[in-house]
C-alpha cells in the first residue's frame, strides 16, 4: 500500500506527460484528479493505521542493491502519518489554486506530481539511501517551480534555495555513508547496510555521534530552517508561485523537523542529549527572531515566511524538549503549521492573482470589499497566532508545557513568541483588511469564488477539528513518541522529567533560574 502511495503521483506525472500539449484545458483538472488519488490512498493508510502501536506499520521491504545493503524499505508510524496525510491533502488544493499558471502548464503539473512522490517517499523511507534519494529528488521540481513559474527574482531565489539545501545534503550523504561503513565494521558478516532499523543497533562512540549528529542536524536545520540558516526561505517564498509557497511552507520545511525527529534523536541519542542546549537555543532564538523580523516586513508573503521561521522554532524546541508532550507537540505543530500557513499562502496568492501585488502598503480596508477573504484570513491568522480551539494552539501549548520541565528558561522565552505572533499577524491584518477602503484597484476587488471557497474550506475545517479534537492525530502519535523516548532513556542516562516540585524542575533542567 505504501509503495502504491509513493508511486501514484509519479504515475500521474507519466499520465500527464501523455496528454497532448495543446489540450491545455485538460491538464490542470487532470492533475488535480490525479493528485487526489494519493489522497485516497493516504486516507486508507490513515484508517488502517493501528492506534496503539508505536513501531512501524505496513512495512514493505524489497532488496534494491544487495551488495551495499540498500533496500526499498517503506513504513509509516505516528510521526510520519500526519505529514503524509498533510502532503497528499495540500497537493490537490494547491493545484486547484494554480489557475494563474498559464505558461508551460503541463510541465508545471508534472513537476508538482514528481514533487509529491519525492515528499511522500521521504516521509516513508526507512532506508537511508532511499531517504536521501527522495530528499534530493524534491529539490529538482521545487527548483523548477520557483525558477520557471516564480516572480521577478525567481532565478536568484531558486539558485539560493538549491545551493543552500544541497550544501546541507552533501554532509548528510557523507554521514549516511559513514553509518553504513560503521555497520560493516560492526556486523558479523561485515556487510554494508543503509537500513534504518539495522542502523539503530549500531554502537557509535560519543565523538562519532557528535560529528554525525552535526552533519545530520545541519542538513535538517537548513531545511527547517533554523536560525541562522533561514535566509533562503523568505526569498524562495516571495518568488515562488502560490502552489510552490504552499508546499514549501506546508511540507518541505517539515522534512527538516521530521529528519531531526526521526534520525537525530534515535540514531544519536547520546549526542542528542548533550547537544540539547545548542539546538534549544537556536530554536528559541528562531522563535523570537522570526517573529520580531516578521513585524515590519512590507511584503505579505515575506511576513508569513518569517512567521514560519518562528513557528518551526516551536517544533524544534518541542523535539529537543525530550518529553512526551514536547514531542507530540512538535509532531502536531508540524501538521498544524502546514495547514494554517498553507492556507495563508493560498490567500495571499488569491490576493496576488487579483491585484498583482503583495505589498501590504498597497492594500487597505479590503474587508469591506472582500469580507469572505478577510474572514478566512483572520481565521487562519488566529490559528497561526495560537488561539485555543484552533489547531495552532494545540501544538504550541504542548510544546511549551512539554518543554518546561526539561528546559524551563527556554520555554519561558519561547512563550513570549506567542505575544509577538499576535502583534505581527494582527497588525498585518489591520493594515490590509481594516480601515477605510483605499485605492481604485482595491475598490474593484471581487470576493472569493465558490471554487476558492472550496479550496479553503477543507483547510479551515481541519484547523478547527485539530484544534478541538487533536486526539485524531495525538492518539496515533503518542506511542511512536514514547518509543523514541524509551530508546533515549535506554541508551543514555537521560531521564524524562516527571512532575514534581518546582525546585527540582529548576535544579534538573538546564534553566538558569528564570523566575
Amino acid at each position: 500500500m505504501l509503495t502504491l502511495l509513493v508511486l501514484t503521483p509519479l504515475l500521474g506525472a507519466v499520465v500527464i506527460s501523455l496528454v497532448p500539449a495543446r489540450r491545455r484545458e485538460l491538464q490542470l483538472p487532470l492533475g488535480i484528479a490525479l493528485s487526489a488519488a494519493p489522497l485516497g490512498v493516504a486516507g486508507a493508510v490513515f484508517v488502517s493505521f493501528e492506534k496503539g502501536e508505536g513501531s512501524f506499520q505496513m512495512v514493505e521491504k524489497m532488496v534494491w542493491w544487495e551488495p551495499w545493503g540498500i533496500s526499498w524499505h517503506l513504513g509509516v508510524d505516528g510521526i510520519s502519518l500526519g505529514l503524509v496525510a498533510l502532503t497528499t491533502l495540500l497537493f490537490p488544493l494547491s493545484l486547484a489554486a494554480s489557475d494563474a499558471i498559464t505558461h508551460r502548464r503541463k510541465a508545471f503539473v508534472m513537476a508538482m506530481l514528481v514533487l509529491e512522490t519525492g515528499l511522500i517517499g521521504t516521509f516513508l523511507a526507512l532506508d537511508l539511501v532511499l531517504f536521501f534519494v527522495f530528499f534530493e529528488v524534491i529539490l529538482v521540481p521545487m527548483y523548477l517551480i520557483i525558477g520557471i513559474w516564480g516572480g521577478e527574482r525567481r532565478v536568484y531565489a531558486a539558485v539560493k534555495f538549491f545551493i543552500y539545501t544541497a550544501v546541507g545534503s552533501a554532509l548528510l550523504l557523507a554521514a549516511i555513508i559513514a553509518l553504513a561503513v560503521m555497520h560493516a565494521s560492526q556486523s558479523v558478516e561485515g556487510a554494508l547496510s543503509f537500513d534504518y532499523l539495522a542502523l539503530l543497533d549500531l554502537e557509535i562512540s560519543s565523538t562519532a555521534q557528535m560529528w554525525l549528529f552535526g552533519a545530520f542536524a545541519l542538513a535538517f536545520a537548513i531545511k527547517v530552517p533554523l536560525f541562522p540558516f533561514h535566509t533562503w526561505l523568505p526569498d524562495a517564498h516571495v518568488e515562488a508561485p502560490t502552489a510552490g509557497s504552499v508546499l514549501l511552507a506546508g511540507v518541505l520545511l517539515k522534512l527538516g523537523t521530521y529528519g531531526l525527529l526521526r534520525f537525530n534523536l534515535t540514531l544519536f541519542p547520546e549526542a542528542t542529549v548533550s547537544l540539547v542546549p545548542v539546538l534549544a537555543v537556536l530554536a528559541v532564538v528562531g522563535i523570537i527572531y522570526g517573529a520580531v523580523v516578521a513585524i515590519v516586513q512590507p511584503d505579505l508573503k515575506k511576513l508569513v515566511a518569517y512567521s514560519s521561521v518562528s513557528h518551526l522554532g516551536f517544533v524544534v524546541l518541542g523535539i529537543f524538549a525530550l518529553t512526551s508532550a514536547g514531542l507530540q507537540g512538535a509532531v502536531i505543530q508540524n501538521v498544524n503549521h502546514g495547514l494554517t500557513t498553507g492556507a495563508l499562502f493560498l490567500l495571499v496568492g488569491m490576493l496576488y492573482d487579483r491585484r498583482h501585488t503583495k505589498k501590504i502598503a498597497d492594500f487597505g480596508g479590503l474587508a469591506s470589499r472582500v469580507p469572505m477573504m478577510a474572514g478566512f484570513f483572520l481565521f487562519m491568522a488566529f490559528a497561526s497566532i495560537g488561539l485555543p480551539g484552533l489547531n495552532g494552539f494545540v501544538g504550541e501549548f504542548l510544546v511549551l508545557v512539554g518543554s518546561f520541565p526539561s528546559l524551563p528558561a527556554y520555554a519561558v522565552v519561547a512563550a513570549f513568541g506567542v505575544v509577538l505572533a499576535a502583534i505581527y499577524m494582527l497588525w498585518a491584518y489591520q493594515r490590509v483588511f481594516t480601515g477605510p477602503l483605499t485605492g481604485m484597484a482595491n475598490r474593484k476587488l471581487v470576493d472569493l469564488s465558490p471554487k476558492e471557497t472550496a479550496i479553503l474550506s477543507p483547510l479551515a475545517a481541519l484547523v478547527l477539528l485539530l484544534g478541538l479534537y487533536p486526539g485524531i492525530l495525538l492518539d496515533r502519535t503518542a506511542p511512536s513518541v514514547e518509543a523514541i523516548l524509551d530508546r533515549i532513556e535506554q541508551t543514555t542516562d537521560y531521564q524524562v522529567p516527571s512532575p514534581g516540585r518546582l525546585e527540582d524542575v529548576f535544579a534538573s533542567g538546564s534553566g538558569d533560574g528564570e523566575g
Binding site: 543552500y164 523580523v293 513585524i295 489591520q430 478541538l468
Partner: protein, 633 residues
C-alpha cells in the same frame, strides 16, 4: 423539581455556540431583526438551563461535580471538562442573565446596521466563550475560554473596522491581553510541571502538599499577570478605554460586566494556590487598590461619556482585585456580580443617551436630557447611586464588605483600605459629575439634535437591570450572608477574609464608606450643577493635575515612546539591519567569496592550448620529481 445532571451542562455552552454558528452561515438570510431574536433566544436558553442546574446549590443540596466531555491533550492533562460548583453557577447566571438583557437591548441599538446579523454572531460567540471560561474544569479549558473571549473582544471592538481607530483599538486590546496571557501560560507550565495535570481537582487537592517555598508565589504571580491583562489593571489597563470604540452593548457586556471580570474569577478560582502565597495575594491587593485610585482620578477628568465609564470599570475592577487579594473571595465575587448589574446598566443607559444624541459622546454637548429621556434618566440615576455605594443599593453592600474585610486584615492592608475609601469618594464624585452633566442643567445640544427616548427593546433591559442594581445587593448583607453561604462549597478549605467581629466597628466602617460616597456626590453636585463656565473654573482650580487626569497621565504616550516605538525600531533594525545585512549577508558573502575566487583564477583559463600544454608538462614533471624523491617502491 427536575434535577439536571452535570453531564447535560454542555448545553449551556452549546446554545449560544449553536446560535453563533447558525447566524454565521445563515445570518444574512435571516436578516434583521430575526437574527437578533434568535441570538437572544439562544442566550436565554442557556440561562434557563443554567438556572435549572443551579437549583440544588440554592437549596443547599448541591455538590460540586465534574463531567468530562472529551479528551483534548492527554499528554498535558488537558481535556474539555465541565466543572459545576456554586462559583461557576453564579458566574454562569451572571453571564447569561446580563448577557441576555444586553442581547435584547442590542436588537434595538444595532437597528439599521448593515452587519446586524454579524454583530449577533459575535455576541453569541462571546457568550459561549465566556461560559466555556467559567464552566471549565481545568486550566487548559479555562484558557480556551480566556482566549476566545479575547478574540470576541477583538472582533467586537473593531466591529466598525472601517474606522482606523476601531481597528487599532481591537488589535491593541488583543495584544495587551496577550502580554498578560504570557504570564498565564507560564503559570500553566509551572502548574503542569508540578502536578502533572491541569485539572482543578487534581491541582487543588494536592496544592498544600506539592507546593512549597516560593513555588506557589510564582504561580500566583503569573496567574495574576494574566488576570491583570484581562481585568485591565495597572500596568495593562490601557486597552480598555480604547475598547470603547466598539458598539456600546459590547462595552457593557464584555468590557464591563463579564469578560473583564474573568481575571477576578481566575484568582478566586485559584484560591487554594493563593492561600499558600500571601505575597502574591498582597501584590494582587496592592495592584487592585492602586489601580482603583489611579483609574478613578482619570475618570474625573474625562468628558467622553463612555470613557468615564471605562475608567470607572477599571477602578471597580481594582476593588475586586483588592478584595480577592485580601482573600475576601466572596466579597470580590459579590462585587463582581453587583458591578455586572450596575455597570451594565450604566453602559446601556449611556448607549441610550448616545443613541439619542445621534452618536455624540461628549458630555459637554449634553445636559438637560432629563425631560427628553425619562426612563434612561431614572435608570441611570439608579446605577449612579448604586456605584456610589449608597445604601441600600447593590453597590453599597459589596463595596462595604470589601472595605471592611480589607480593614480587618490589618497591617499594611490598612493603607489599602484608606486608598479604597478615597476611591469611594472619587467614584461618587465622577459618577455624579457625569450624571449631572448629562441629565441636569440646561441643554447644550448642538444644532439639529433632538434627543428622544429609546425604543422599548432598549428600555426594558434598562429597567430590569435597574431593579437588579437596587435589589442585587441583598443576597449578601451582613445580616444574612446568603452569597457566602451559597459559595461555601467552592471555597472549601480556604481561609476567607472576614469583616471585623464587633458590630460597632462594622457600623463605623460602613458609615465611613457611605460618608465618602455622600461627600463625593455632594461635591459633584455643587461643582457641576452650574453653568459650564463655572465648572470650567472649578476644573482649572486643580491646575496641572486636571490636565494629567484629562490625559490619563499620558500613559498611552509613555508606552508608545517607551515600548512601541523602540520595539518597532528594534524590529526594523533586526529585519533590515541584522537579517538582511548580517545573516543573509553572510550567506551571500560566501557566494561572493566563491565568485571572487573564480574571478581571481579565471585568467589561468587563457584559451591558449600551448599554455595549457606547458602547465600540463610542468605539472607532470613536478609529479615525477616528487615520486622519484619519495621513491616509489
Amino acid at each position: 423539581m427536575i434535577e439536571l445532571p452535570t453531564e447535560a451542562l454542555w448545553l449551556v455552552i452549546a446554545f449560544p455556540l449553536g446560535g453563533a454558528l447558525l447566524l454565521h452561515f445563515a445570518g444574512r438570510w435571516l436578516g434583521e431583526p430575526l437574527a437578533g431574536y434568535l441570538a437572544s433566544a439562544a442566550s436565554l436558553a442557556a440561562l434557563a438551563v443554567a438556572a435549572v442546574a443551579a437549583v440544588p446549590f440554592f437549596t443547599g443540596e448541591g455538590h460540586p461535580s465534574q463531567s468530562l466531555l472529551w479528551e483534548w491533550m492527554p499528554a498535558v492533562g488537558a481535556s474539555f471538562e465541565i466543572s459545576w460548583d456554586p462559583l461557576s453557577a453564579l458566574m454562569t447566571l451572571v453571564v447569561t442573565g446580563v448577557g441576555s438583557l444586553i442581547h435584547i437591548y442590542s436588537v434595538g441599538y444595532m437597528h439599521g446596521d448593515p452587519r446586524f446579523a454579524r454583530f449577533f454572531t459575535y455576541l453569541n460567540l462571546f457568550t459561549a466563550s465566556m461560559l466555556t471560561l467559567v464552566l471549565a474544569g481545568n486550566y487548559a479549558m479555562l484558557f480556551v475560554g480566556w482566549e476566545l473571549v479575547g478574540l470576541c473582544s477583538y472582533l467586537l471592538i473593531s466591529f466598525w473596522f472601517t474606522r482606523p481607530s476601531a481597528a487599532s483599538a481591537g488589535k491593541k486590546a488583543f495584544v495587551v491581553n496577550r502580554i498578560g496571557d504570557f504570564g498565564f501560560l507560564i503559570a500553566l507550565m509551572l502548574i503542569f510541571s508540578t502536578f502533572g495535570t491541569l485539572s482543578y481537582t487534581g491541582v487543588f487537592d494536592r496544592a498544600a502538599q506539592e507546593l512549597s517555598g516560593w513555588a506557589p508565589t510564582i504561580i500566583g504571580l503569573m496567574l495574576a499577570a494574566g488576570a491583570v491583562g484581562k481585568s485591565a489593571q495597572i500596568p495593562l489597563y490601557v486597552w480598555l478605554p480604547d475598547a470603547m470604540e466598539g458598539p456600546t452593548p459590547v462595552s457593557a457586556l464584555i468590557h464591563a460586566a463579564t469578560m473583564v471580570t474573568a481575571g477576578v474569577y481566575v484568582i478566586a478560582r485559584s484560591a487554594p494556590i493563593f492561600e499558600l502565597a500571601p505575597v502574591a495575594s498582597g501584590v494582587v491587593a496592592a495592584v487592585g487598590a492602586i489601580t482603583a485610585l489611579w483609574a478613578a482620578t482619570i475618570a474625573i477628568g474625562q468628558s467622553d461619556i463612555k470613557r468615564v465609564l471605562a475608567y470607572s470599570t477599571i477602578s471597580q475592577l481594582g476593588y475586586m482585585f483588592l478584595a480577592v487579594g485580601a482573600t475576601a473571595y466572596v466579597a470580590g465575587v459579590f462585587h463582581l456580580m453587583t458591578h455586572a448589574f450596575f455597570k451594565a446598566l450604566l453602559f446601556l443607559a449611556a448607549g441610550s443617551v448616545i443613541h439619542a444624541m445621534g452618536g455624540r459622546q461628549d458630555m459637554e454637548e449634553m445636559g438637560g436630557l432629563r425631560k427628553a429621556m425619562p426612563v434612561t434618566f431614572v435608570t441611570m440615576g439608579v446605577g449612579v447611586v448604586a456605584i456610589a455605594g449608597i445604601p441600600p443599593l447593590a453597590g453599597f453592600w459589596s463595596k462595604d464588605e470589601i472595605l471592611s474585610v480589607v480593614f480587618n486584615q490589618g497591617g499594611w492592608y490598612t493603607a489599602l483600605w484608606l486608598i479604597g475609601l478615597i476611591t469611594a469618594l472619587l467614584t461618587a464624585f465622577y459618577m455624579f459629575r457625569q450624571f449631572v452633566m448629562v441629565f441636569l442643567g440646561k441643554p447644550r445640544w448642538p444644532e439639529g439634535v433632538t434627543p428622544h427616548e429609546s425604543p422599548r427593546s432598549m428600555t426594558v433591559p434598562l429597567v430590569i437591570l435597574a431593579i437588579l442594581s437596587v435589589a442585587g445587593g441583598l443576597v449578601n448583607t451582613p445580616f444574612r450572608l446568603g452569597l457566602e453561604h451559597f459559595l461555601e462549597p467552592s471555597f472549601e478549605g480556604v481561609r476567607l477574609g472576614h469583616p471585623p467581629e464587633g458590630v460597632g466597628l462594622v457600623l463605623v466602617l460602613a458609615a465611613l464608606a457611605v460618608g465618602a460616597g455622600v461627600v463625593g456626590a455632594a461635591m459633584a453636585f455643587f461643582a457641576y450643577h452650574r453653568p459650564p463656565e463655572a465648572w470650567r473654573r472649578f476644573q482649572s482650580g486643580f491646575g496641572k493635575l486636571w490636565g494629567w487626569w484629562e490625559n490619563a497621565y499620558g500613559v498611552d504616550d509613555a508606552y508608545g515612546a517607551m515600548l512601541v516605538t523602540p520595539g518597532r525600531r528594534l524590529s526594523e533594525q533586526t529585519a533590515f539591519g541584522v537579517d538582511m545585512k548580517v545573516v543573509d549577508g553572510a550567506v551571500n558573502g560566501v557566494a561572493w567569496l566563491v565568485q571572487a575566487t573564480g574571478r581571481l583564477i579565471r585568467p589561468a583559463q587563457s584559451g591558449l592550448v600551448r599554455q595549457y600544454g606547458l602547465w600540463f608538462g610542468l605539472g607532470l614533471v613536478a609529479l615525477l620529481i616528487w615520486i622519484l624523491v619519495r621513491g616509489v617502491a
